[in-house]
Subunit: 468 residues, 4 copies
């Protein structure tokens, strides 16, 4: 309804009431205008219906939704099913053009606008979270693993003679496989143990760089967010090496945006002039949307453009829509609250587990400081055969995400062999259980977990004894 | 409502009425059961509400939707916004696992089931469309360009010493860039002109194979669906070469599933023992869903598995959901009707344009037989400066998809230079306009296009004369 | 997005593309503006997403949807469930005020606007359907029966000494019961048979008026839409009587808007100066929305106001929303097409049944001219016990709406006894089956009905013979 | 998906994962089964998606949603617009039959089931709220005013010679007009003042009964929920009179279910053998759904049946759907919490206003005990002309629901004149402001109200002084 329509509405409803409505509408239009103008999250959450209406408006800027549009091309944004059309808010053209994932589509001004704006809002969210020096953010409609591969292909293109990736071992298959998918060769740097937890083997990194021709190294991959007992990689040191030896540095920050500690480490690294090329993180793990997108951050326009340009063809706008809705639903306030709440619950979870280990002659196998999201506890008193049972008992009691890691598990990925797979290191002392206080967790989850886990543990431990 | 619930319902509503409802419900349950059992499209379209309800049921098989589920991992399928949750039918876990895009997720039986089942339904749809010998279909949640890159990376992994891709020129940037993104080197084989249209330069292909070490050739890329005057590549000949010289063959069949002619060519090629490794097609261009997915077809389990395995990590389930909904909404009947309708409308469009060229001393620049989707017409009487105007006049009159190709356009992609970019060949005689009768087009679109285009053309042509 | 927002969008997407979007948006805003300005249906259907977006905009004019609204009353339009909120597009205040169902609510400018506008659009639809002289239309959120009662209460209020309603028998319980609910006394005027069908007993009407004190007659109720063999009441004659004797005339036109014949009869009646006070029709039966609303038409502002004023308190806006959506989804063109299609299908159905009666020695028991929606056929050769079976066999074979009427059925409503209930007359000769070609019926329905019915009929008729 | 479908799913996804899903599904099916079996609210809220899925299942029990249903009647539940169909979950047949609003529809087993079940769930909710002796609850798809009329028509039918309604004055137009709509004559019993608030004039009631022939009295209407300074009617006394003189008693309990005090009064009245025939309450005001429905409660099957039977024809199922969704969304726990929260906020609001009156030399004009929802405060220091301004200033500052009542307002409804309309009494001493802490109010609303109101008040009061 434009101003004229409002005027004619006054013939049906008295002007004073229409005026109040007009004023209410204006205040919502102001909010929208401000978001487009300043490209910053609103302070407070936006109502769902406002977000939805705005999305509909933006979608109507795409040619497939123009009244009377005639399509004689091969890709006209037609949608067969109205269910599908609805769930995509009539967005059909995706993002990007053949040349660039961040390019404008002439046919799809709305999709292009949504894409550009969302990248800017994500950048603002990143700043709010504490990475204040980041200058570019790009939502990529592929999950972190494949996006890591894309970053590696981009780096490789700049270093055509390189073959190797120095990789600080992290037992997430997708991170390791992202190297293989790019047809690069991983050099695995094992974690070393320190005081019950694992940390980056910094000496080995330097040794490997010196051993290999540094031009043959495509990049170093460090990982910040990981499961205890592994800790945040020593990215300050690694990025220093990268700086000194002119080797690109790719940070696998999969779910690190939710941790103020990890954010702080990255920010410090940058401020102390360490080299960071790309930082990759998941949209689902950090912003509570369905799996399917990731965010690449850089400090450099050229790196940003190179990544955009390498992407061949169009891509889904879906993760962009999800992030757009979610960030506006949170507002700055909601985002900060969520982060704070997670931190508090991590502390609560840690204290509960610490007490539990004391009560049961087990021990915490992680650094509270350097594993700010997950916590590992030893399972000394449970034998290997019962460990499998423990895992499956948790699963059938609807506990998801708790991982039992058994000493001695072997795994081969392509031709690469790993000892103690899952534990990030060949040298660990105990089998253990690892759990996380990730964003979105509720205190109730922690309480029920403690109860259910303890009951299973006690039962199995009693069995151990009776087995004797 | 289970059987018990129905029984208790009889206390509120007489049994005979409940019985009729029970029977109706059973007939819909049978349909669902049959689809899961036989993994074939239903003959007739399924109602939207049945599809939606089924999707909801499947989503409830994922652990994040279990009542009382406790998540203590880092990725628990939590969704912040209820808008986002709704539009994804509560699916949150994506598809695949770290190791394989087609692997089962223990946490997400529903997503896994949907993924497996949809791949099977797509395979059935492919059979219905005429590719009866295909044995494996995989929906990939990336558009065709990036999926081509993934196929290239997979092939390259098997042929670690290869560097080159023999590429039959097609002026779609995303196809060309998919080679560059994989860090491979394209060898461009220009189209040759024949009788006003362009065709595969088969001699040059053989020449290049002989010139290069065949082990250094990663694969040949042929393209079937393209804009006139370029025609379907001579894939029978190319696949023969691939067979003889043991070179992988990747077919860029972006929007070729909609053409019975193209389908026929591929099927014939396979039946005559030509080599085809992967066939890549878009979900949006063939099945009328939003941009974001593609389908890879193979005739070989090993190739299928290799492709699944190379994908690092999880991926979006979105294109899978869209295809699932769309195929069930169509049913076998709807799919066949759609294809038949397109074919008829192509013939109508061709006849109209043929008549128009006769009336205006222009000519058709395409083979009706070998360009079964698009049609090119010469624009001899419009000068270059007016050609630009023509394009923009069409655009502002809401004609989308019609392309004006001007003689002499140059384009550089990375370090590669193209003459007459857009025309697929350095040697064309006329500037021209190309349009398509793609799936989903309506007769009305063709009529309005003819009227609007003719009016613009006549106006510009008069201007030409008056400019003299 | 207001003009400023569009301007800022130009910083993200080039102006020329934004301009095209702006233009597309403007054309949709014009449509909306025109509908509010002229209060007429659009010529062509409006897209669902446009309708939905408009509804959302209107709802935001209600105070419960204002940002920062503070409610300290007892009725603040709060909605507990977001599912409920969504399905009502956030409309919560209903329509009307304590004093008048058509009054403006200061708190709810949007609801009030929607109500006023929809009543105007309904009036336009009524004019399009052929009732060109109607001046007032009111959507009432109660189905026809209860709305008839409301009309009767309104008339009774004007005629406080009246007690009787002269009622041309129609065997729809809700029509008869609407009299009883108003605590008035029905005088039943039986139909008379003429040439195999039933028609208004006009002599009896006049006789009764003369017999009773005319001031004691609250009104006459005639019925236009009914099941054959009953025909449209002779409303020209009845309204003449009403004019002469100053008795209000209430027309039960439940599903008559779909018939051009019935429309014509009413229009003729009015043009020949017959008296018609209120015409009541169903929203669901005429406009294909769910049960729950009705439309009252009058030719007189005072009668319209009296009806509005009698309604005590607020009422649901739901039927208004449904009608608003439906009329805009149809557009003028869609509405006319629907009516025309029904007429054609009625003729087809009639011809098929006529042929069938000839083939089976049965006969048509209705006037093609005066029963323009339904058709009755004799069931001479089926005995009474088998008639019941016939009905239930149709039902279990998912034929709904076909009615088997058995000679001799008795029914008592309150203290009133009816012979041959269902047949509208004490004097009919045969048991029969009656079916309708109502709005929304498809040719396919007719074909399948003929097949299924014939098969059941033949089976039962064979049984008759074998029973002998 | 039935059991067979699950079995075939095991061919696609390992059995152990399917088993977990099966188990999760079973636990949700149990919940549904229990609700149907016991017809009681679940203890805990049900998830929205479970509710929605269940609604879809129930809707599929209606014949219009049967696959292959053939409709040859005049009312086949067809829906033109898919938007409309969706928002009604495909329910189209409404509730009731011609004869009875609570009757089963053979065509619509699902709608019938939903109707019956919802009435039972409402009854359970009523018991939870404290009216434990109520035996029948009926959701009527009309708002309270019209439903009061329906009750009056039902009572009048049983007492054909009655003409009067004894009515304890309450200045809600819809209550008064419900009497006029039923063509009955109100006898107005003014409130009397007592200690700054108003209460039932019990002597006048008895006087009027004695004065009139008691058979001419159709019923007495008392009101429980009202705006201060009026208090809950003395229903114990009134129902006693009704018992003694055999006069029906209709309680207007519009928004009384939210108050434990009002509930207690009704329960006590019943337990002390007072006569209560029907209790009418709004669905929107008590259960936070959109306007459009009401609930009638009785203690007597015959009264319940009479009310059901009088309703002529079908009716909307909408309020039933809304209540069904809302009650399941609340669960028993949510409902109790809501009531408790309201009570607490009322106390907070009262204390704040009390303090405010002390600070400003105004006074509370209501009984905390007998006006348990709303509070009135004097506005001694604001002159009449400024009072109007106060109201409109509140309105434009988005305070809704606060009512300014000016001494001396006159109002005529039909031929009845009221002095001090809005104040429920001819004799009040001050103009005043009345506000409510109704269900759904938030503490934040109270705080912002206090701030905004005080600021307006002070400004106007300063103006008063400067006017001098």
């Amino acid at each position: 309804m434009n101003d004229d329509a409002f005027k004619y509405a006054e013939r049906l409803v008295p002007r004073s009431y229409i005026d109040l409505a007009r004023q209410a509408r204006r205040s919502y239009e102001q909010q929208i205008r401000q978001i487009i103008e300043h490209r910053k999250l609103p302070e407070q959450p936006l109502d769902e219906n406002i977000i939805e209406q705005w999305l509909n408006e933006i979608a109507q800027m795409d040619s497939n939704n123009f009244e009377g549009n005639i399509g004689v091309g091969e890709r006209e944004g037609r949608i067969y099913s109205s269910l599908v059309a609805r769930r995509h808010y009539l967005f059909s053209h995706g993002i990007g053009r053949s040349g660039d994932i961040n390019a404008i589509q002439p046919k799809a001004a709305g999709s292009s606008l949504l894409n550009k704006l969302t990248n800017e809002l994500v950048l603002d969210a990143i700043h709010i979270l504490g990475l204040r020096t980041i200058t570019h953010a790009l939502v990529i409609p592929m999950a972190t693993g494949m996006t890591m591969t894309l970053c590696l292909l981009t780096l490789k293109k700049q270093r055509p003679n390189s073959r190797y990736v120095l990789w600080s071992r992290i037992d997430q298959k997708s991170c390791f496989k992202s190297i293989l998918a790019a047809n690069l060769e991983p050099i695995i740097i094992e974690q070393i143990e320190n005081n019950n937890y694992l940390q980056t083997n910094i000496n080995e990194f330097e040794k490997q760089i010196k051993k290999l021709n540094q031009n043959e190294i495509c990049c170093i991959i460090s990982t910040t967010s990981c499961f205890a007992p592994r800790t945040i990689d020593n990215i300050q040191y690694i990025s220093n090496l990268c700086q000194i030896y002119s080797i690109p540095h790719l940070i696998n920050n999969a779910y690190g945006l939710q941790s103020t500690k990890i954010i702080h480490e990255i920010e410090q690294t940058k401020r102390s002039n360490g080299r960071i090329d790309y930082i990759v993180q998941s949209t689902d793990k950090n912003f509570l949307v369905p799996v399917g997108g990731s965010i690449v951050l850089t400090y450099d326009k050229e790196l940003f453009d190179k990544l955009s340009h390498i992407y061949p063809g169009r891509a889904s706008i879906n993760p962009t829509i999800d992030i757009f809705i979610t960030l506006l639903s949170m507002g700055k306030k909601g985002l900060i609250d969520l982060i704070q709440k997670r931190k508090n619950l991590f502390n609560i979870f840690y204290e509960k587990l610490l007490q539990w280990t004391k009560d049961n002659d087990e021990c915490i196998l992680s650094s509270k400081q350097f594993s700010p999201i997950s916590i590992a506890i030893s399972l000394k008193h449970i034998s290997n055969e019962h460990l499998t049972e423990l895992g499956s008992m948790l699963f059938t009691r609807r506990i998801s995400g708790a991982r039992v890691v058994k000493l001695g598990t072997k795994q081969t990925i392509d031709s690469y062999e790993f000892i103690n797979y899952g534990a990030h290191s060949s040298n660990i002392q105990y089998s253990y259980l690892t759990v996380a206080a990730a964003i979105g967790i509720e205190e109730n989850d922690i309480e029920i977990f403690m109860k259910k886990f303890d009951s299973i543990y006690q039962k199995l431990r009693r069995n151990e004894n009776s087995d004797d």
